[in-house]
Amino acid sequence: MSEMIVETRDLSMRFGGVLAVNNVNFSLRERELRCLIGPNGAGKSTFFKCLTGQYQINHSHGRVFIRGQDVTGWRPHEIVQLGVGIKTQVPSVMNGLTVWENLWLSARRIHGKKGASAEVDRIIVELGLQTQMRRMVGELAHGQRQIVEIGLVLCQQPKLVLLDEPAAGITGAEADRLVSLIHGINQQSAVVVVDHDMNFVRMLGGSVTVLHQGAVLMEGATDAVMNNAKVREVYIGNRAK
């Protein structure tokens, strides 16, 4: 499993009566780009939260390995400290702080007091946020907040990046930037993108895992999956409801 950066074994998550994640075996190689898709209620976000430690898994419900470590039941910050960058579904940023401050808080842990400022300045240029760097994040547009959050991930120089619906509610132009950003990240690190927006997934390329009713429906290259009858049925059937 050495070259596997993420691996889950028979991972399950149950809420009351509902089995949100149904023993999923998922694995990802170094530097791989994987999209996790599925209709609403397929258990994408729950699965995502299991990876990030936001939902605690007890050992009876399977195992999660990240970078060779058994992280089952770890708390988020411990998982992050393994070099995992996380962007959650609703943009989670520090609204009351400026863009620069947000990024500094992220860079500080990796680059220390000295390095942080330089790193932040670099990232700000990379994201083209120079003009907003002293504004409160809370005052920025939704799309820009998404970008800032990506920035927070970048500052961590992660080996593994988990993005939950990065494309939610952003304009076409921004989408293109987002795609190139993600590809940029993918140069150094493996990336998992959770999304249900097919077009965006197409733009990203890479391989795809389809979740349905908490279980893996199929896995493969984008086009293959997109054209698969079962997947279409699931999506369309779901739409029909």
């Binding site: 009351g16 209620g41 910050h77 609204n95 009351g96 808080l105 500080r108 927070l152």
Partner: protein, 365 residues
């Protein structure tokens, strides 16, 4: 670390001009005035500062901060009675509250207890202490040669003395200067903390604890640390109060104390350090003046003020004034706006969280 202070502005900065000017003024005060009341105000200011630091910058509101104030006072009284010398007692009165707070803080924060629920626990802890201390009149309850005395409290313990020299007690003007120095010291310490990485991470926690954790910081540890530091300051204030009042009573742990300090902070200005100090001094003075007459009950006035402050200047006195002063400075205004936005947003988020959790499990996905 000060190098990037220009970029990291939300932690606020030391207004050296003001600090020095006020400090000199206060140094000269004994020349013109009786120091008895100013000493008390200084002690209250220190108490308010301790809460202001924790609440304003880490977003942790304790409904029972008096617990640590009282602990400081009692610890000092008991230790000094047993040792007859105040230096060790003084140090102990700071360390013990800090330690207790660390335990309680860890219990709450690692237990993921937040907003209202945290409020209850802090409140209950202070109530337990108050109840217990009120029921310790029997001779069974004595530590060394100090009888806890229940409702009587502990009178006639040695007041602060020049370190190492029990024969020269510190009172009157001397005590005033000691209090003043403690206040300034704690202010500078707070400033230093806020300008450090630790302080900035606290700001992050105040804004979005979940995100700070997803950046790889152990939020509960940081919260516990600031809770303990704040308690240490409160304990110092309590110790000074004991030495000023020359008696400690269970009322020190009471709900009233906890309420007042909260009012001082919110009225003075949440998210500033000077605000709580100013709030404590102004409202404290008013309380004392009202206490000298019985025509209007002073809780009537204090209460009225709190309601008005929350309704009319939710950001508190100091930030509002600052806002006026720099009407034209774009940055400060924008900060001000998002500050108040933050407070509301903050409440919403906590609230939302509360509701989410309340039904966690029905919402899968």
């Amino acid at each position: 670390m000060i190098g990037d202070a220009a970029n990291f502005t939300s932690a606020g900065r030391t207004h050296w001009g003001w600090v020095i000017a006020i400090f000199i003024l206060l140094l000269l005060l004994p020349a013109g005035f009786d120091t008895n009341t100013p000493t008390l105000l200084g002690i209250w200011a220190l108490f308010a500062l301790s809460l202001g630091l924790m609440w304003g910058y880490a977003g942790i509101l304790s409904f029972g901060h008096a617990a640590y104030f009282g602990l400081g006072a009692y610890t000092y009284a008991i230790t000094s009675m047993n040792l007859g010398e105040s230096t060790a007692a003084w140090i102990f009165a700071i360390v013990l509250p800090a330690f207790v707070a660390a335990l309680i803080g860890a219990m709450m924060f690692y237990g993921r207890i937040s907003d209202v629920y945290m409020g209850v626990i802090t409140l209950v802890f202070s109530l337990i202490l108050a109840k217990f201390m009120g029921a310790t009149a029997g001779d069974a309850y004595s530590i060394g040669n100090a009888r806890l005395g229940g409702f009587n409290g502990i009178p006639a313990f040695p007041i602060l003395n020049v370190p190492g020299d029990p024969s020269t007690p510190i009172f009157g003007t001397a005590l005033y200067y000691v209090v003043l120095c403690c206040l300034v010291l704690c202010y500078l310490v707070s400033r230093w903390v806020l300008s450090s990485a630790f302080g900035r991470i606290l700001l992050g926690i105040r804004e979005n604890e979940a995100r700070i954790e997803l950046l790889g910081y152990n939020a509960p540890a940081y919260k516990t640390a600031i809770f303990s530091l704040s308690a240490a300051m409160a304990g110092m204030a309590g110790c000074l109060f004991a030495s000023w009042a020359e008696i400690v009573t269970p009322a020190l742990f009471g709900l009233g104390q906890s309420v007042e300090v909260i009012i001082w902070v919110i009225a003075g200005g949440l998210g500033t350090l000077m605000g709580p100090v100013i709030g404590a001094v102004l409202l404290g003075t008013m309380k004392l003046l009202l206490g000298e007459q019985t025509f209007i009950d002073n809780s009537l006035v204090i209460g009225g003020i709190l309601v008005l402050v929350v309704l009319l200047l939710p950001r508190g006195l100091l930030p509002t004034v600052m806002g006026w002063r720099k009407q034209h400075g774009q940055r400060s205004v924008s900060r001000a706006r998002s500050n108040s936005m933050r407070r509301r947003g903050g409440e919403r988020r906590q609230l939302g969280a509360g509701v989410e959790h309340g039904k966690a499990g029905q919402n899968h996905e």
